[in-house]
């Protein structure tokens, strides 16, 4: 399993107390420069104190919807946890050509170190009123309004919304993306179009597991676990999914339109279609999932320190052959959230509410595979040194999925997770 110890042995409470004490250190002004690595390298590390109840996390073979669960039959578990480390290289090859290459080690990753993103950026000097830019390589499509930076870190909370958790775990594309941006009568407009491959399994987790809330990211060579599958599904599908593979050599596409009218508001519309062949399958029992979705994102700067962010998504994913007039698995999915963030000093406080659901219409995975749920999150972020930030977060999620009765679980599940994270960046 992971590259890091699942539990810090010896004196976990001492580690936890030291972590908690960091919150009490004097804050730092954001203007101070952080130390940085030479040659355009940067590195991050993430260590957390975790208290969690509910079921074992889906990342550890259970059905829990969060990144952590108590495990080992405990009701509640509190422990320090090394979670993630990244090394990013963002060289400037010329003044208009750059690159972003990110290696990552995550707690549940099955490779010690893996590749998270690797792409070139091209931004020529504008020659008229339209500015063009391009990215090419392994990259996240521009959907999330919660992530930033080369390491694609969550900005205001620890755990991203269900929407952006799914983008992080399954929607990682390899291709080329071109953006044209201009300003018309005080309206800022930009149009982005992308062609990609190597994302044919996007949708697997949504259909088999449902939505989840976590910050574990897809990587090139690692695999994501699926919940225990039985019967026919257990025979046709591997017990894991590989997010960055192609099964049919068909290109997918996405497009995004951003409109910022005069004022503190911005609206984004995004469409994705991986054009995967639902009947395509490889020797490892990875299937093509024809996944399409539409997404709306909005940002409202209520004042200079308060921001309201919202995202909504609706889509459909299909896998397998036709049987009895329906594809084996045919899942429609939707989710939406609102995130309110207020800057406090050089830190911030945030609150998020969200709802999510899936409807299953497949001939094999029928209606009982559908789910409905909601989650609420509160978080506070506080820089304590130029290179260290503390983030504290409380998240509660509840959901219902009838298919859980097949494995003798209650259809209902709920889980609460408290995290105190020390995030280091140089």
């Amino acid at each position: 399993m992971g590259w890091m110890p699942r539990q810090i042995r010896g004196r976990p409470w001492a580690c936890g107390a030291a972590l908690a004490a960091c919150w009490l250190l004097p804050g730092v002004a954001q203007a101070e420069d952080a130390p940085h690595l030479p040659y355009d390298f940067s590195a991050t590390a993430d260590v957390r104190l975790i208290g969690v109840d509910g079921e074992t996390s889906w990342l550890d073979g259970g059905f829990g919807k969060l990144r952590f669960g108590p495990g080992n039959g405990d009701d509640v578990r509190i422990r320090p946890q090394a979670v993630e480390g990244t090394l990013a290289w963002t060289p400037h090859l010329t003044w208009s050509l750059g690159a972003t290459i990110v290696a990552i080690a995550q707690r549940s990753q099955d490779k010690p170190i893996d590749l998270s993103e690797a792409y070139l950026t091209f931004k020529p000097m504008p020659v008229g009123k339209v500015k063009f830019s391009a990215r090419a390589g392994l990259l996240y499509p521009p959907v999330s309004l919660e992530h930033s930076g080369p390491e694609w870190g969550v900005r205001d909370t620890i755990t991203p919304s269900a929407i952006n958790s799914w983008i992080g775990e399954e929607v990682k594309t390899t291709g080329i993306e071109i953006t044209a941006a201009t300003e018309v009568r005080g309206n800022r407009l930009s149009l982005t179009a992308g062609l990609f491959g190597l994302n044919d399994t996007a949708g697997t987790l949504l259909a088999f597991r449902g939505w989840a809330l976590h910050d574990e990211k897809a990587t090139v060579f690692s695999r994501q676990p699926l919940p225990p599958l039985d019967g026919f599904l257990g025979m046709i599908q591997a017990p894991f999914t590989r997010p960055v593979i192609s099964l049919d050599n068909r290109l997918g596409f996405y497009a995004k339109l951003t409109w910022a009218p005069p004022g503190p508001f911005e609206l984004q519309a995004f469409h994705y279609d991986n054009r995967a062949e639902p009947k395509a399958v490889d020797s490892e029992l990875q299937w093509g999932w024809r996944t399409r979705f539409d997404h709306l994102g909005a940002i409202l700067d209520i004042d200079s320190r308060t921001r309201l962010t919202g995202q909504a998504i609706t889509g459909r994913t299909r896998m397998g052959h036709k049987m009895d007039g329906a594809t084996w698995i045919d899942t429609r999915f939707r989710s939406a959230f609102l995130l309110l963030t207020r800057q406090v000093g050089s830190g911030s406080v945030s609150a998020r509410i969200e709802a999510f659901g899936t409807h299953s219409h497949g001939s094999v995975a029928d209606a009982e595979y559908g789910e409905n749920g909601w989650a609420i999150t509160a978080a506070a972020r506080r820089p304590i040194t130029p290179f260290a930030t503390m983030v504290i977060e409380l998240i509660h999620v509840e959901s219902r999925r009838e298919q859980r009765e097949d494995v003798e679980l209650s259809p209902m599940q709920d889980q609460t997770l408290g995290q105190l994270a020390l995030k280091l960046k140089i």
């Binding site: 954001q30 203007a31 420069d33 940085h36 400037h92 003044w95 208009s96 972003t100 950026t121 931004k123 000097m125 504008p126 500015k131 990215r135 990259l139 521009p142 930033s148 080369p150 941006a181 300003e183 005080g186 309206n187 800022r188 930009s190 951003t258 910022a260 009218p261 005069p262 004022g263 503190p264 508001f265 911005e266 940002i299 700067d301």
Partner: protein, 211 residues
């Protein structure tokens, strides 16, 4: 770091010597009475040539925390403006304005890059690396020019007692060319007071830092 203050600018720009000195206070307000800061007020003589400003002086635009500072600068025609990067990242400054077309590659913490602005007009600035960076330079061909303070006020002293045109420009002013004008007859004695009420449009929300 150089910060341009109205009175300092006046001192730097004032070229001629006039015996019959007049004073002028200009106040810029929004329709609901709020102050308009960073509005550039320029004066030109009517029916006679306005003297050119002296181009000497220290003018600088800082790049700090991925922003230009200040948002609006007033410099005399022919001025040399230093672009001082205090950020630990590079900036690729450019403008496509009629008054000045240039691009300037400024390395991390590089503070010795200078551009000469030799034509009067508005020069919007951008950074090709960081789209959210924006600033404006008003290159003026008059010795009497300054921008309003946080209270929306600017004062001129030692002006010629003559008829002048007062131009008010702001990057988001709702008017053709983002500018309004009026005439005034200046005379010796107590400072003349001119009030402008202007509507500002909201700029679009700047893009986030992005990838």
């Amino acid at each position: 770091m150089f910060e341009m203050r109205p009175l300092a600018v006046i001192a730097a720009l004032f070229a001629g010597t006039v015996a019959d000195a007049a004073d002028l206070d200009v106040q810029i307000r929004t329709p609901n009475g709020g102050p308009v800061r960073d509005a550039v007020v320029t004066l030109h003589l009517v029916r006679q040539a306005t003297p050119l400003p002296k181009s000497s002086g220290n003018f600088a635009i800082d790049q700090q925390n991925i922003q230009f500072h200040p948002l609006v600068s007033v410099v005399p025609i022919g001025a040399s403006v230093a672009f001082m990067n205090h950020d630990p990242v590079r900036h690729h400054v450019y403008s496509f304005s009629e008054a000045k077309r240039f691009e300037l590659k400024v390395n991390e913490r590089q503070v010795n890059r200078v551009v000469v602005f030799d034509k009067a007009g508005i020069v919007p600035l951008g950074c090709n690396i960081h789209d959210r960076m924006i600033a404006f330079i008003d290159v003026v061909d008059t010795p009497w020019a300054a921008k309003t303070d946080a209270n929306g006020n600017v004062s001129f002293h030692g002006l010629p007692a003559a008829a002048v045109t007062i131009d008010v420009w702001h990057p988001y002013l709702r008017a053709p060319g983002n500018q309004v004008s009026r005439g005034a007859a200046l005379s010796q004695g107590p400072a003349r007071r001119e009030s402008f009420t202007v509507a500002l449009r909201s700029p679009p929300r700047p893009p986030d830092a992005g990838y």
